[in-house]
Amino acid sequence: MKHKVGIHLVILLVVFIIACKDDQLRKAAKASDDAAIAIGAMIDVKRELGKQELITPAQELVLTERLLDVNRAVYQFNSRARTYDRLDSTTQTELLRLFGDITGSMRTLNEQGVLQIQNPDTKQKLSAVLSALDTAVQTIGAALGGN
């Protein structure tokens, strides 16, 4: 009887661990979706600022190029992550590598794009959207256990 209870507990523990890992993947999926939405919002803000001439065409071009890098990095992550059923040490390592590409491209977007804007109000607006995007990106990292 004790033996059966022990086996049931082990099975429950394994199921629980697998469920937690499944939750990690679902969290990563939601964060990836949030990041995609935030990038879309930043594109719209950038376009509006350009229309209002609050940023120059040259500044908008840099923001566009750096946003494209971020979008493609998130795309790579999303495309790879969706092929997995659950996270294990191998898949986690691969996804953390792709997460590193996302954070690197975010850093470049901030340094070469947002921080180069002179007007304080305009910089603040872009920083606010970037902060929202960063929240989603950091949630990806948290889901992978990388933060």
Partner: protein, 65 residues
């Protein structure tokens, strides 16, 4: 932290709040009803749309001869 936090951070320069809340609730409801695979697929579609917009902007800002 998720869709609500994300949309709340966008509030500073969004003047009309109601569509933001409506969008937040719709996004949360949508994600809750989706399987993980569907969420990844939705993210993929959004990223594709983003790429298209960004390439249009590149063409506009840096037209190739």
């Amino acid at each position: 932290m998720g869709t609500i936090a994300l949309l709340l951070k966008l509030l500073p320069f969004i003047t009309n709040i109601t569509p933001v809340i409506v969008a937040a609730l719709a996004a949360i409801r949508a994600q809750s009803n989706m399987t993980t695979a569907e969420i990844f697929a939705h993210a993929g579609s959004t990223l594709d749309a983003n790429e298209k917009k960004l390439l249009e902007d590149l063409e506009r800002l840096n037209p190739q001869p």
